[in-house]
Symmetry: C2
Subunit: 337 residues, 2 copies
DNA sequence: CTGAAAGCGCTTACAG
DNA sequence: CTGAAAGCGCTTACAG
């Protein structure tokens, strides 16, 4: 237990001890030109000795940028926001720029209020993290830059960073094809989510390119394990000679694995299974560890933060940027030797 | 798309339009005494008309509190921090107090740096969210109040809010006993986690109180599904006449359910299963929806924030506060009629 | 009941 | 190269 510090040393304290004016001390500490080398070194040394750290509140008041950004999410319950948050933190450098995290709870009014509050707090920028990869209404022009992550803004002049879901479908297909599988079914999620639609498109395109036909029609339902269990049964009756299944989420894939297991069907020797998300706790702990397309959400967070910083520095990059994904292969597609 | 606003109106602007001095305007807006009623109303009206909102940065500089708190977590990957964060946000009121969220990534050095950064930012208080319910080193006395949530501080003079894990074990046992089960096994997690130890204690105590003997020795391993699957088999050979099993986490319980399912054992008619965490995506989607002891982490977050606000208001409550849990019954213990 | 003045801690033209 | 002065936007004794 250290003792309670009095008042933390101010610039004025440093200046007094160093025997210079506050203005000079400020310049010395901020690497401004026109400070004698010796003076600068002395000030810096004394600042360190005194344990001086500039008061960001005061600095913000006089200087402009506050060194804070706001992150508004709607998915704190879910698992998508977290990896993105970590990426944002990485890119921002938690020591330099701090993030205000606010959860809109899926309420548009609440979101508007939060954005307003962040603006009042004079954040330097805002990242809006969506919860579905579907377009969402733009916030319009604000007094600070805004970047939309995961869900794109419906205004093409805004900066949006999302997952390229056709790429997801394509990679899943190519992975299975590369293993020699040709009787591939597809179990998807909600039919009206763009994630479902785009993943199917990419999947279909890759099959087409390989002149392989999909085994049975794509099955749409929801994103749950229960649906995965049910749909797997249906897929098997549509195409009894299946040798692989592409599930549009890890939860669905977990259900599919259980359904196959119950029928005594070997994974991956008889049927290979691949999911989407790389949600570790689900994928690694499946009875057969699950191969999956990793959305690389942490990277998405990093890119979003990088674009935000660029915009704050006066270099906005309007438009939609879609990030690629990556297959993470485990035993559900690649048997242990 | 609204247009970019010029400079937001300042107090001085409001004062000028209202024909009063900035001091008077400030008092009027802040409900200070000694302002003529009419004056006050005029200032308030004009402030509203101008869309004035006080600059929190300036206010913080002159007044003291910044209206911000820091939350340092180590579990952004995991699922425990999130519900707590939501509780914190609820209690703080996201419109009044904003939270800086920082993830220490399980690195003590990084944690120390983050706390330092938060202090420099002049947060009004700090909440340290742990990732295991084991004691963690105290940060010592800081210049602002600190509350430890989930993991308690090793200094009893700090304010810590945690889950009462003996209560967890007790409730699980009482729930199963109330259903008439008497041959109850226990599959736990890591043997050296206090969560494991305390949950066993509570469980044992409740069995003792009912003069029921535990079915076989408690099984320790880790918190994973894989362990749950393996341990369930072992529990069955230790006590073939089992009629219930208390798993120390939902993940373990999921594994146990799978193992029982594979053996054709009916849940809950033959064996009832209860887990801990109420991690919805796991519990609700199990092939038999999982009964579980809910840790009420959101509430824990709310309580932690409430204690922090009390401390910031000069009413600290040192010591450890352990919060009770609650059984959330689903079909794995209560059969559908 | 109102306002002039000082101050929170820093930065930045501007003079010297 | 250095420092006095003004200012960022607000609050709070203190005088009137």
């Amino acid at each position: 237990m250290s003792t309670v510090s009095e008042r933390p040393p101010s610039l004025a304290d440093v200046a007094r001890v160093a025997g210079v004016s506050p203005s000079t001390a400020s310049k010395a500490l901020n690497d401004r030109t026109d400070v004698k080398r010796a003076t600068k070194e002395r000030v810096v040394r004394i600042a360190r000795e005194l344990g001086y750290s500039p008061n960001p509140v005061a600095r913000a008041l006089s200087q402009g940028p506050t060194g804070t950004v706001g992150v508004v999410t709607s998915d704190l319950e879910g698992r998508f926001a977290l990896p993105m948050l970590m990426g944002v933190e990485d890119a921002l450098g938690a020591d330099r720029v701090l993030t205000f995290l606010c959860d809109a709870r899926g309420d548009d009014m609440r979101e508007a209020r939060l954005v307003q509050t962040l603006l009042e707090r004079r954040v330097d920028g805002i990242i809006i993290v969506g919860r579905q990869p579907d377009p969402r209404p733009s916030l319009g022009r604000l007094s600070v830059p805004v970047v939309y992550a995961y869900s794109e803004s419906d205004d093409p002049l805004d900066t949006s960073i999302t997952v390229d879901n056709t790429d997801v479908g394509r990679r899943a297909a190519e992975h299975l094809l590369s293993l020699g599988r040709t009787r591939i079914a597809h179990i998807s999620g909600e039919p009206d989510h763009s994630a479902s639609v785009r993943r199917l498109e990419g999947f279909q395109a890759a099959l087409d390119a390989a002149s392989v036909e999909m085994a049975g029609p794509p099955l749409f339902g929801n994103w749950s394990e229960g649906w995965g269990r049910a749909a797997m049964g249906r897929a098997l009756s549509e195409a009894p000679d299946l040798d692989a299944v592409f599930c549009a989420s890890d939860q669905i894939a977990r259900g599919a694995i259980d359904a196959l297991h119950d029928r005594g069907i070997g994974i991956p020797d008889q049927i290979a299974v691949i999911g989407v998300d790389n949600w570790q706790v689900l994928a690694e702990n499946a009875r057969v560890p699950l191969s999956t397309v990793d959305l690389q959400l942490k990277r998405l967070g990093r890119v979003a933060a990088a674009r935000l910083m660029a915009a704050m520095a006066g270099r906005p990059a309007p438009g939609l940027e879609q990030l690629g994904s990556r297959v993470c292969a485990r035993q559900s597609t690649i048997p242990l030797r």
